[in-house]
Point group: C2
């Protein structure tokens, strides 16, 4: 099974475009988990169990594990998702970008060590820096295109001969990098008009859309700008607004309510 | 002490612009180290001891540790360099780039966990994605500008209104991002003319230059394009050509000869 096959199945069977981002921050955990040596794994796996039937994918962000020396808990978490919720794609959000010989090491880290189904990749170093990921047809390669942060404008909105840099990235990926059909793009919810422009350039390519929830993106405008005719085509990410919806021992139930609310709000506009 | 102070002292006292990149690949280790559980640390610390008096800095590349679950050996290696070779700056080559809240986690990873003196950062997501590193005035922030790989052209050489994208990055960093005076730029040795163009834009900002050695960049052209009037200003990286100069138990001596040869060749043109 490939990432995209699993993703399409999840879109249909779970009737959801929601991606839950797993960005663990122990300082925001309920008190009983803060000091546990395996607190990150315990917190994230409780969130996963509470939301798996409501999502099309999960997206652990590696810095939030690495800052706490918790690579072993990240490995265990992804193994747990594969075992307990098979068919739920896991995106390793690592935004890698390096020369080919190093990218091969990152690909080993992502796909052999962590057994992720997809990885986020930074396009600044060009196609050969993405090639070790692109060559894995069963894995998803999700290139940064238009990011949700304010500074995204600094480079991504520069005019490069009649189109903006993020539009060039979208075209390069759609026309040249996507030979194996395993690419997707990151386009932030903070810029719905730009989601629409990217959608027009890339056909049915999946879009990973951060920026709703804590970052303030508008759900209706986001969905309408990026959905395909069949109501799929997007992974709309929410992290903090779901993970930290509750602050006590019932945090997983609170996360489930928040995830269901977000999924349902998305579905209103599909 | 700050990264740049240490770097300037090392340039002078060791009479060297050489940066040795620590990209461990156990398959290329001498046989007696290949199967050791701490083989990566043993190999790299032997290289460090054999070359420290010949370099201005070391640059461990994190993927080569992460692919082997060797984060603990990377921590131990950097601690070893600080203890045994004080004043030798360590650059964590990680090419990070993410939104601010995540970049803060990466900064904790690089500076608190690994105790690196500097980190490489990808500029694609713009200034706010670099801010958590820029705010650490004692640490070096080395932004990708013109990378040494062939695919670097795909985006970096696009014309953005009368200048190329990498020139815009150089100007942005020099004019806006470098408030704390802790920035440097990555400019590949495979494009000496472009090193000269970056040097003209950024004054005395240090340049980290990969691409000599295994990647084939010309040493004379590289040094002449980027050196400052006092013969400093560059960290010229070589990784594989030094690490794997020997293949048996005398690998560290072979690495020392290769490092001395490269340092001396660089010094011919300073």
């Amino acid at each position: 099974m490939s990432f995209l096959t699993d993703l399409r199945t999840a879109w249909q069977q779970r009737d959801s475009l929601l991606c839950v981002g797993l960005d663990p921050d122990p300082a925001r955990f309920p008190p009983h988990l803060r000091e546990r040596p395996d607190g990150i794994l315990a917190f994230c796996s409780a969130i996963v169990d509470a939301t798996a039937d409501l999502v099309c994918c999960f997206k652990p962000q590696i810095a939030h594990f690495a800052a706490h020396r918790a690579e072993d808990q990240l490995e265990a978490l992804i193994a747990y998702i594969h075992k307990r919720h098979p068919g739920t794609p896991v995106i390793l959000d690592a935004k890698r970008g390096d020369i080919g010989s190093t990218a091969e090491q990152y690909a080993i880290e992502a796909f052999e060590r962590y057994r992720a189904d997809a990885i986020t990749v930074n396009p600044y170093m060009g196609r050969d820096s993405a090639e070790p990921y692109l060559a894995r047809a069963d894995k998803g390669v999700i290139l940064l295109c238009r990011t949700s942060n304010r500074g995204g404008d600094d480079l991504q909105s520069l005019d490069v001969g009649g189109e903006l840099l993020f539009e060039r990235v979208a075209r390069l990926v759609a026309e040249e990098w996507n030979r194996a059909g395993n690419c997707a793009l990151v386009v932030g919810a903070t810029y719905p008009d730009e989601i629409a422009r990217v959608r027009a350039l890339v056909g049915e390519m999946p879009l990973l859309v951060p920026g709703i929830g804590a970052q303030g993106g508008d759900v209706e405008a986001t969905v309408k700008a990026g959905r395909l005719a069949d109501g799929t085509g997007m992974m709309i990410n929410s992290s903090r607004a779901i993970l930290y919806a509750g602050t006590d021992e019932s945090f997983a139930e609170a996360a489930r309510r928040a995830a269901r609310g977000t999924r349902d709000e998305i579905n209103l506009y599909r």
